[in-house]
């Protein structure tokens, strides 16, 4: 959908020519978010801004939807691309309504159409149209302003969005909220998005693909999991950080790692049965007790099962915390550490036990991806290797 072909920018400075972007080749498939990531001065912002010509490319081409944009009129091109910047840049002289309808009005929509669109957009970003449309930007908080900034970029429903550190100026708590809201919106809108960030955690959270830049060159372009499991060189490795294995925990869902083979007992079973199941399944310490509705009800420990007679319902301990199938492994790891356990039962959306997840399975899952350095991480067409 967005394809960059040998895109290059050379700045003439008093100290001589500086290559800000050096023959960048990449392609973002339709409906995906591509994060441009790297230290400051690496060329990621330059690359982004060459797409809507805020910065003129020295050479190279930009294709949108297969069409070469070189010959297009700059204003038309920009009106067909949503643009969000870090400083937000809402027009203080206009009301919120005027701000978010700027592009529709430039495109000559009639009054009823853009008024209606303004209300739709406010619904989309979960802000009250009645309360906010007539206000001015200075009356809004930073987080609200950036939501409006995103709405303004989405106003004319452009297929492509460019976002330059859009959530960089927002405090961490609000940032996480806005990121989640944005991902939820994106799940429906399926825009093709290029997104500049310098925050590796944001990149992993938001990106379908991540492009790492260094000194004007595209160093690696992969899916987040591939990037973390197989960094191409020392620079990428150090940029991702020593704890990149832990960062991968964010990317993997319980559903991908859990095992549905699991022994359990019912409250009406005897402790004898419990002991034999513990042995059958090879559990070390305990077995889960599940009630009639399939929900976790408690734990029968091996020592109790061995030394006591009676029914499970009279001799159980409190149930351990559970992992939802859609939780990420980071949360699971955190629960395991907090509760000093090596496994957790997994429950489905209705709270019924459907398997268990072990620390071993998690480390195995991460480890197996480490060993295979995937060739298929992403097509990097004729991208020169950077030296380490």
């Amino acid at each position: 959908m967005i394809r960059l072909d040998n895109l290059t920018k050379v700045f003439d400075t008093p100290k001589g020519a500086v290559v800000a972007a050096d023959h960048i080749n990449m392609e973002v498939p339709r409906g995906e978010i591509c994060i441009l990531l790297g230290p400051s001065g690496c060329g990621k912002t330059t690359t982004l801004k060459m797409i809507n010509r805020i910065i003129r490319a020295t050479s190279g081409k930009v294709f949108l939807d297969g069409e070469d944009t070189t010959g297009m009129n700059t204003q038309d091109l920009r009106r067909s691309i949503g643009y969000v910047i870090q400083q937000i840049g809402l027009f203080p002289n206009m009301t919120i309504e005027e701000n978010i309808t700027v592009v529709p009005r430039l495109l000559g929509w009639d009054r009823t159409a853009y008024k209606k669109r303004a209300r739709e957009l406010m619904d989309m970003i979960a802000m009250d149209a009645e309360a906010f449309l007539k206000r001015y930007p200075s009356e809004l908080s930073g987080g609200q302003q950036q939501r409006i900034g995103v709405a303004r970029a989405l106003a004319a429903d452009p297929p492509v969005m460019l976002m330059d550190e859009p959530f960089g100026a927002i405090d961490p708590i609000n940032r996480a909220v806005i990121q989640d809201e944005f991902l939820k919106m994106q799940a429906e809108l399926k825009k093709t998005i290029m997104f500049v960030s310098h925050d590796i955690d944001e990149a992993i959270k938001m990106g379908d693909r991540i492009a790492i830049f260094r000194e004007g060159k595209l160093v690696q372009y992969s899916a987040p999991d591939d990037l973390l499991s197989a960094p191409r060189n020392g620079f990428v490795e150090s940029f991702l950080g020593e704890d990149r294995a832990l960062k991968r925990l964010n990317l993997v869902k319980v559903r991908e790692v859990f095992s549905d083979e699991m022994g359990s007992v019912k409250p009406d079973d005897t402790l004898e049965t419990a002991l034999s199941r513990i042995d059958d399944f090879g559990y070390q310490n305990a077995i889960l007790m599940v009630n009639d509705r399939g929900e976790p009800a408690g734990m029968i420990t091996r020592s109790v099962a061995r030394t006591t007679r009676g029914y499970c319902r009279d001799h159980y301990q409190t149930a351990p915390p559970v992992a939802q199938l859609d939780d990420d492994l980071r949360k699971v790891a955190s629960l395991m550490f907090a509760n000093d356990t090596t496994w957790l039962p997994c429950v489905d959306a209705r709270g019924r036990v459907c398997g268990h997840i072990t620390q071993r399975a998690m480390t195995h899952h991460l480890g197996s991806r480490y060993r295979s350095r995937p060739e298929d991480s992403a097509p990097l067409r004729s991208q020169p290797e950077t030296k380490e």
């Binding site: 009106r79 910047i85 937000i88 002289n93 206009m94 430039l106 930007p137 303004r152």
Partner: protein
């Protein structure tokens, strides 16, 4: 508490002084003398305002576009030096400017309007230029990135956001203008200066005041008028007085 009591005491003293002044004016016959000049004041005030209105509008009509042109990126190389030339221009006393314009335009209304226009030009140009340059680069990038043409950027984003500063310049310039118009009398353009300068020459304090007090009042009124226009015209979101 002491400040508040001081304030109310001050108010009392002021009221008493005003009253005393009124009594004195009535007793000494100054008010009658003043009233004697009333028809003159009326006629000359109209002339005075005419000069202000013509030279002021001309100055606005020249200075605002000039400021806009100077603030364009393509003019960046010359803009600062041109502003310096204008700055040096204002250090020339208005009287000298009027004298100069008289020396090649003769006497009467035309040279006076010319001289006043030149003297009023700078504050407006300077404020227009500074106001436009002061519009945040982020706004300009957003405006460009959303696909506004250069003209749309100027009229929808830059000018509305610079308007408050531009109006501040117009306000200063017109207040100075009203205060300078009396000098126009010296090159034969009339105005309240006629009473002021004749009063000085004749050592007639009442006559001089009959010119000076209306001049001051006109300056205050013009200033209030421009402030009101600014209040109404500058968009609410960028208008500190309406925040």
């Amino acid at each position: 508490m002491p400040i508040r009591s001081l304030k109310s005491a001050g108010r009392w003293v002021l009221a008493i002084l005003l009253f005393a002044a009124g009594v004195w004016a009535q007793r000494s016959g100054v008010i009658e003398d003043f009233l004697y000049y009333l028809p003159d004041v009326r006629y000359l005030a109209v002339q005075h305002l005419f000069l202000t209105a013509v030279s002021g509008s001309l100055a606005i009509a020249i200075a605002v576009p000039l400021g806009i042109v100077l603030s364009r990126p393509s003019m960046a190389r010359f803009a600062e030096s041109l502003m310096q030339v204008l700055n040096v221009g204002t250090t020339i006393p208005t009287l000298a400017v009027l004298a100069l314009s008289m020396s090649f335009l003769g006497i009467g209304t035309v040279p006076a309007v010319f001289g006043l226009t030149v003297a009023t030009l700078l504050p407006i140009t300077r404020n227009t230029y500074v106001g436009l340059k002061g519009v945040s680069p982020a706004l300009m990038e957003a405006a460009a990135g959303l696909g506004m043409s250069p003209a749309q950027r100027l009229f929808r984003v830059e000018l509305p956001n610079a308007l408050y500063v531009i109006f501040a310049g117009i306000r200063t310039a017109l207040a100075i203008n009203v205060g300078t118009v009396p000098l126009a009398f010296l090159i034969g353009a009339g105005g309240l200066g006629e009473l002021i300068f004749t009063g000085i020459d004749l050592y007639d304090t009442v006559m001089m005041l009959a010119g000076a007090i209306p001049t001051a009042l006109l300056a205050v009124i013009v200033d209030a008028l421009v402030a009101t226009i600014a209040f109404l015209v500058v968009p609410r979101g960028v208008n500190p007085s309406r925040a």
